[in-house]
């Protein structure tokens, strides 16, 4: 990546590779740099190497090749306890034989901080995560969400500038997870810390991050702010992985005026924005978001190509309607429409014409 040697980089992965067994690369040529204060999320399916990257940064795994730099200094040979990186583990890793307060003062004790100062810090950080009364409890006496807060507090209490979090909300239920997402983001912003956050939940990644790195098979597929990631996926993996997405396969017929005309395998011609295709004859997979599909004829421009579709299913979801259609021989094409007073509810069995703006339909790699 071109910006991997930027001057203001706080954390930097420089051509990092990692193999556990000498046969397979779990991380393949990772280049990543983030400035101070950024909230960066590593998003990817299970087994894509996210935890491995985090462990290399924390010092529990060594990079097989390449450099990891923290504040400009290579840290490959610095042991974990000297890196000063705060860490929140998926299972929280709260020490079961210590009370909450003892857990929190542990990192301060090993730094030989005097007792009064320790107590003040512990009290302060407990208040920061709104757990002021729980200092005397054992981790086992806390709920999942409370343990989560303590784990966060413990990573923050020794004022690390960089905090790593490995799927910290994975074990919580949906509602609590949303509260905690907000909470973590607020605290990170307030303290101005740099966060590298790992998750496989794309909603979490989109709502919390400044930038998201989408991992697959040991590589970063795309590194971009959430809106760009959602609206301009660079390849079909990212398009598939982030948000709901309709895909259609076909061949490029021609590219003219920045618009690609694609002949679908299931029949029909559509207009797309060429992203990974450059010339006629190439195979492509086109991607279109369900909420960008238009079925109201009046709102489609006259010269746009449209497709015939058969309505298979209509689901009322409260705020939106979700309609499943058969399009170009595929019967998993979904459109979402807002529940508004004038919104049309499509009847199953009926036929409609669908279309979209060419820039909403991205012709990606096959």
């Amino acid at each position: 990546m071109a910006d991997s040697h930027t001057k203001d980089a706080f954390v930097e992965f420089d051509r990092v590779q990692k193999s556990y067994d000498g046969e397979n690369l779990v991380v393949k040529d990772l280049n990543l740099s983030l400035p101070k204060g950024e909230f960066l999320t590593m998003l990817g399916p299970s087994g894509s190497g996210k935890t491995t990257c985090l462990m290399m940064l924390a010092g529990f795994e060594t990079a097989t090749h390449g450099d990891i730099r923290l504040d400009g200094q290579p840290i490959n040979n610095i042991p974990p306890h000297k890196r000063g990186i705060g860490m929140v583990f998926q299972n929280y890793a709260l020490f079961p034989h210590m009370t909450v307060a003892e857990n929190l003062s542990f990192p301060l004790e090993v730094r030989k901080m005097p007792k009064t100062e320790r107590e003040a810090k512990v009290k302060h950080v407990l208040e920061l995560v709104q757990m002021g009364e729980f200092g005397g409890r054992r981790p086992a006496q806390l709920s999942g969400g409370q343990q989560q807060r303590i784990a966060l507090a413990r990573a923050l209490v020794f004022e690390a500038e960089l905090v790593l979090m490995d799927e910290p909300l994975g074990a919580l239920d949906k509602q609590l997870r949303e509260t905690m997402q907000f909470e973590i983001k607020r605290i990170a912003d307030d303290l101005g810390i740099t966060v590298v956050y790992v998750t496989h939940d794309q909603t979490e990644a989109l709502t919390m991050s400044d930038r998201v790195a989408v991992f697959e098979d040991g590589r970063i597929q795309q590194l971009a702010p959430p809106d760009e990631l959602y609206e301009s996926p660079q390849n079909s993996f990212v398009a598939q992985f982030i948000g709901e997405n309709n895909t259609l396969e076909g061949t490029v017929k021609e590219i003219k005026n920045g618009i690609a005309l694609v002949q679908l395998d299931g029949g029909g011609l559509i207009d797309c924005k060429p992203v990974n295709v450059t010339k006629a004859g190439e195979r492509t997979r086109v991607s279109i978001r369900p909420e960008r599909v238009e079925f109201n004829k009046d709102r489609l421009s006259a010269e746009a190509h449209t497709l015939k579709a058969e309505v298979l299913e209509f689901i009322y979801m409260g705020d939106i309607f979700r309609t499943r259609l058969r399009v170009a021989g595929k019967d998993d094409f979904v459109i979402k429409s807002r529940n508004a007073p004038d919104q049309v509810r499509l009847e199953p069995g009926s036929e409609v014409e669908i279309g979209w703006l060419a820039e909403d339909c991205r012709a990606l790699d096959a």
Binding site: G59, P80, G86, Q90, F106
Partner: protein, 421 residues
């Protein structure tokens, strides 16, 4: 009071609803319960009963007909009428003579003599001899009996007969603690050259403690390695650890002999490499060293297994968390890892200690004279001297010590903290 919808008390309704499940649960445990009662609780009860009740001097049982006849009744009567310390007079000797006649008829002098022999060794033959001549004895009985053997005038003998004339006694516990009744009935130590049991109890406890500590230091690293290695390698280690269980005791004993004896492999190797002069070969067999080495080998798995099971449950992220917070690996071990292994240490130590306190076969084979433990003496009294009451008393003291230990453990660490596997 809470009631169900139709007015029945809630407790009653619940009990009724659960009674079926309870009955079934009881039926499920019944076979094991019966087995335990027959094979464990009953024998232990018998043993405890034997340790405080010996009828050798009070009842004779004819094993052919199954009839039990009281013996030494006249003497018992005399002891009852005359308090402790009364010198035996003519009536006493007359009672003795009458009882000896009965003994002769019942063919029981040996049994009665044996009982007195437990308290006063060498007295068994006096009974058999006197009983043979009992019919011919004539008054005055005192002179007549003392004429047979002047030891019949020994006050210790009369003290022994007095205690033995009541079946229920704590004398075997006294004996098991190297104590006995003096002639006046008070408790005193036995002469120094006959004190064996207390020393043996002490030795048993000390050696067991030593074995436990050695096992702990050997097992801890292995268990840790097993808990952290990948499955395939840890299974291989597990097999090595369990190997002692799978080899026959005789094979093991033979191999210890080959390795440890003064002309054995280990000594030869040390002499060959010059660590040891030929005349300074170390005796590692048939003494305490042999007992400790062999028992450590056998009992090691009992320490490794609970430790392994506890350690494999400790998530590696605890230590990682500690390290990321700035703890050195030693601090992380001491403050985070080690405290979490305590339940396994407790379980392993308790198991090894209790097992080694009662271990019999290994010290018998490789212990020599000074490597014997208390259980070897229990076995001796069970099979050789046939003093079952003393054996039972020794065993009961051992059982008491183990229970005490268990209680202490519960008070200090808490039994619910024990993790056996």
């Amino acid at each position: 009071m809470l009631t169900t919808v139709d007015g029945k008390p809630l407790k009653e309704a619940l009990a009724h609803a659960q009674s079926r499940a309870k009955r079934r649960a009881f039926l499920l445990v019944l076979p094991l319960l019966a087995f335990i009662i027959v094979s464990f609780i009953f024998p232990i009860g018998q043993m405890l009963y034997k340790s405080v009740n010996n009828t050798g001097f009070t009842i004779s049982k004819d094993f052919g007909t199954g009839v039990s006849t009281p013996i030494m009744t006249n003497l018992a009567e005399w002891f009852e009428e005359n308090p402790q310390g009364t010198d035996p007079d003519e009536t006493a000797y007359a009672a003795l003579a009458a009882d000896l006649v009965v003994l002769r008829e019942l063919k029981a002098p040996g049994q009665a003599g044996t009982r007195i022999n437990y308290e006063l060794s060498g007295s068994r033959s006096m009974f058999t001899k006197a009983a043979r001549k009992a019919k011919k004895l004539e008054p005055p009985f005192k002179e007549a009996i003392i004429d047979l053997d002047e030891d019949w005038a020994d006050p210790s003998l009369w003290q022994a007969m007095r205690t033995a004339s009541i079946a229920v006694t704590v004398n075997f516990y006294l004996a098991a603690l190297d104590r006995k009744r003096a002639d006046d009935g008070s408790v005193e130590m036995v002469p120094e050259n006959r004190q064996v049991y207390v020393t043996l109890f002490k030795r048993t406890l000390i050696l067991s403690l030593m074995i436990t500590v050695i096992c702990f230091f050997l097992a801890f690293p292995i268990a840790h390695l097993m808990a952290t290695l990948p499955m395939r390698k840890s299974n291989l280690l597990m097999i090595l650890v369990l190997l002692p269980f799978w080899t026959s005791l005789l094979v093991r004993t033979t191999s210890w002999m080959i390795v440890l004896q003064s002309q054995g492999v280990l000594n030869d190797a040390m002499v060959a490499t010059g660590i040891l002069a030929d005349e300074n070969r170390i005796q590692m067999m048939y003494n305490q060293t042999g007992t400790v080495i062999a028992m450590t080998h056998i009992l090691l798995p009992f320490m490794v297994l609970p430790l392994y099971s506890v350690m494999s449950m400790i998530n590696p992220s605890y230590v990682r968390a500690a390290r990321s917070m700035g703890a050195t690996s030693w601090t992380a071990f001491r403050r985070i890892y080690f405290p979490q292994t305590v339940p396994g240490i407790g379980a392993g130590a308790l198991l090894v200690f209790i097992l080694s306190v009662g271990y019999y076969i290994t010290p018998a084979l490789v212990g020599g004279a000074d490597g014997q433990l208390i259980s070897n003496l229990i076995a001796f009294h069970m099979t050789k001297s046939l003093n079952w009451s003393l054996a039972a008393a020794l065993a009961a003291i051992l059982l008491g010590a183990v229970l005490l230990l268990y209680w202490l453990y519960d008070r200090l660490i808490g039994i619910d903290n024990l993790k056996l596997g």
